[in-house]
Amino acid sequence: MALVLNSEAQLVRDSALEFFADKSPVLMLRKLRDSRDADGFSRPLWREMADLGWTGFLVPEAHGGSEFGMVGLGQVLEAAGRTLAATPLLSTALIAASAIDLAGNEAQKQKYFPGLVSGDSIFALALEEGAHHNPNRIATTAKRDGDGFVLDGAKRFVIDGHVANQLIVVARTSGGQNDRNGITLFMVPADAAGVAITRSAMIDSRNAARVTLAGVRVGADAVLGRIDGGADPLEAVLDRARAGLAAEMLGSSSEAFERTVQYLKDRKQFGVAIGSFQALKHRAAQMFCEVEVTRSAVTAALAALDENANDASLLASLAKAKASDTAYLTGNEGVQMHGGIGMTDEHEIGFFMKRARVAQAMFGDAAFHRDRYAALTGY
């Protein structure tokens, strides 16, 4: 497992940094928010990302992808995090591509990958049912109905749900509400009869939706992977999502931190730069340390996932927990150290804190992953 980028990954990183800085600065998110944009992201820009090949990083070459892997996609997500770019990278290029690749059959791959790689199709994972991440607690039911199934349930915190063409629905085909067994993944067209999707406006001005499924009929070919056996591929997909999200958070944290350091140099009070005050210096130095160790954890998790290493889940939890704590730190210290202007909507630093708070909760907060790290370690 390499913790230093190879030259290919470095190239991706450099081009992604340039891409988002040029085409999707934080101002773009503000505009999407203030104009109450119906999509919440830029479709032309998404097409450009697809053209750059980012949508295919986790897709097999046989299906038009590059198999470039998580380390590469992590560089793109980190760069997107730096400018808080709203994109379907996580929902589609990472989660859906992984789910279809890891659980799908050949027919499904042929059906879904072309649209995914081209950027035409957007996908959303409809997983959460409670206020806190809990991938095993599934009450949404999928009941046999002739050849197919009928789905009923309510999903929330569905990233990119209201712009998705396809939903990947986690439903229960057997077992009790908290059983790992009995979970099945279904591909459900967003426009299927009985599907209702409402966008929910969150503090980070990014896309999430509530999805209700009322008597939604799907065929047997909608089952992604094994019936009753969805928990294992779901966990593998979630580990990638956690590491990918951690990479995005690392980007946001790095940016918030660097902007704060710059502000400490620029802002004068009492005739000197406030960065000359030792209490602020020490706190800035401590933030630096946290950003650096987070970077190591994120890089290790991405690499371990690409290698299917034994400790990939452990590292994914480590990365998400550290990224959550560090995003909290850099967001809050960023606002505090910016002082008065930090508390205004006009300044961009607050956007970082808001995005951090949503990302903290997504796919398990730091406490969830500390618990998981302990369980995986055996205590």
């Binding site: 409670g130 206020a131 409402t198 929910s200 503090i203 004068k268 009492f270 508390m343 808001k354 406490a367």
Partner: protein, 396 residues
């Protein structure tokens, strides 16, 4: 029966008879009464209660009766407070007139200034705001650049104030201005009273990260201020400013104290609703521990406020702990809303819309609002500097 007991009995009877029923319920955030020419009363009993109390001077119980205040002694004022608390009366009036400017005018104002301004404050007729900070003068307040040039019978004022709380809803503003740019920075400052309606005064609300607009930028362009609106001596405004900041910090120290607006339900109930419970305990032990840390620190801090109040009642000096109130209360308030958000999960991440419970949305906005608590009114860093210097005596 001692005089104080008689006062207590009479007060109890009067409050029982005069405090409207809805004024005996906890105050919703949007029903506070700050008075002023532009005041709107969502609940008409708010106005009724204000009028009844101000007629007795009990909006400012200890201010002299000659200006319309209650004229009560310290003991009586405490009895009034106790009796109001006993039946849950809301405060009839709040704002910077009562908490900041009034005490300053009583200490530093001329008789004419008191007569002009105090009655209007007491009755809630005029709402005041504070023109202190400037874009270049935040923690370094004394670095302010707003100029006031004495020209015969008036000052000509030019400058740009920021963080003027509710300036767009206020009638008047008390301002720090620089009257001697050649003097050392603390020595050329004066304290002026300015009418927001005067020509050249303009307030622009600032939107905060919470979406609330509680602060403004206030622009002063060639504003003519009568020389009689100077409080205290020319170039001696810094002394007044410092005194006033002490009043402000005391006020902010009340955040998170009993009576401050609270989340719709206790944070542990929010947590139980969101993650369930096992044997009566919140099912997520890390969350439960976080909540205990928060509630216990709040409990200990409330006891500290009470200890300070008791010491003050006992005639003891306020003690060094009062210097910590602003710092501790605002930091606590941030951890409090962090616990609320941690408990609530994704239901506490909403910005607006029908998908979210209005109580949850309010909690989320208050969480964002709390982030400003440790900045406004003197940052936490400034408070720690003050404690280190004044209480601990550590050298510069």
């Amino acid at each position: 029966m001692a005089a104080l007991d008689i006062f207590r009995a009479e007060t109890r009877v009067w409050l029982e008879a005069n405090c409207p029923a809805s004024m005996r319920t906890p105050m919703p955030t949007d029903e506070g009464s700050s008075g002023g020419l532009r005041a709107e009363y969502k609940n008409p009993e708010t106005k009724l209660w204000l009028d009844r109390m101000s007629a007795k001077g009990w909006t400012t119980p200890t201010w002299p009766a000659e200006y319309g205040g209650g004229g009560l002694g310290k003991d009586e004022a405490m009895v009034l407070e106790e009796e109001m608390r006993a039946i849950g009366c809301r405060s009839p009036l709040s704002g910077m007139g009562i908490s900041m400017l009034g005490p300053v005018l009583l200490e530093y104002g001329t008789e004419a200034q008191r007569v002009e301004h105090l009655p209007a404050i007491i009755k809630g007729e005029i709402r005041w705001c504070q023109g202190y900070s400037e874009p270049g003068a935040g923690s370094d307040l004394a670095g302010l650049q707003t100029r006031a040039v004495l020209q015969g019978d008036h000052y000509l004022v030019n400058g740009h104030k920021i963080w003027t709380s509710n300036a767009h809803l206020s009638d008047k503003i008390f301002c720090l201005v620089r009257t001697d740019p050649a003097a050392k920075k603390h020595e050329g400052i004066s304290f002026l009273l300015i009418d927001m309606a005067w020509e050249g005064v303009r307030a622009r609300p600032i939107t905060l990260i919470s979406g609330y607009s509680v602060f403004c930028e206030t622009f002063l362009e060639n504003v003519r201020v009568p020389a009689g609106n100077l409080v205290g001596e020319n170039n001696k405004g810094w002394t007044i400013a410092k005194r006033l900041l002490e009043h402000e910090r005391k006020g902010i120290g009340g955040i998170g104290a009993p009576g401050a607006p609270t989340a719709d339900k206790p944070v542990y109930v929010i947590a139980k609703d969101a993650v369930g419970e096992v044997d009566g305990k919140i099912a997520d032990p890390a969350l439960r521990n976080q909540i205990s840390v928060q509630l216990m620190n709040t409990h200990a801090f409330q006891l500290t406020r009470r200890r300070a109040a008791e010491a003050s009642e006992a005639g003891q000096p306020p003690g060094p702990m009062s210097a910590m109130f602003k710092y501790y209360a605002t930091e606590l308030n941030k951890t409090r809303y962090e616990a609320v958000l941690a408990a609530g999960g994704d239901q506490m991440l909403g910005w607006e819309g029908d998908e979210y419970d209005p109580n949850h949305l309010r909690n989320t906005r208050e969480w964002l609002r709390s982030k400003a608590n440790t900045i406004e009114g003197g940052t936490s860093e400034v408070q720690l500097n003050i404690i280190a210097k004044r209480v601990l005596g550590l050298p510069d």
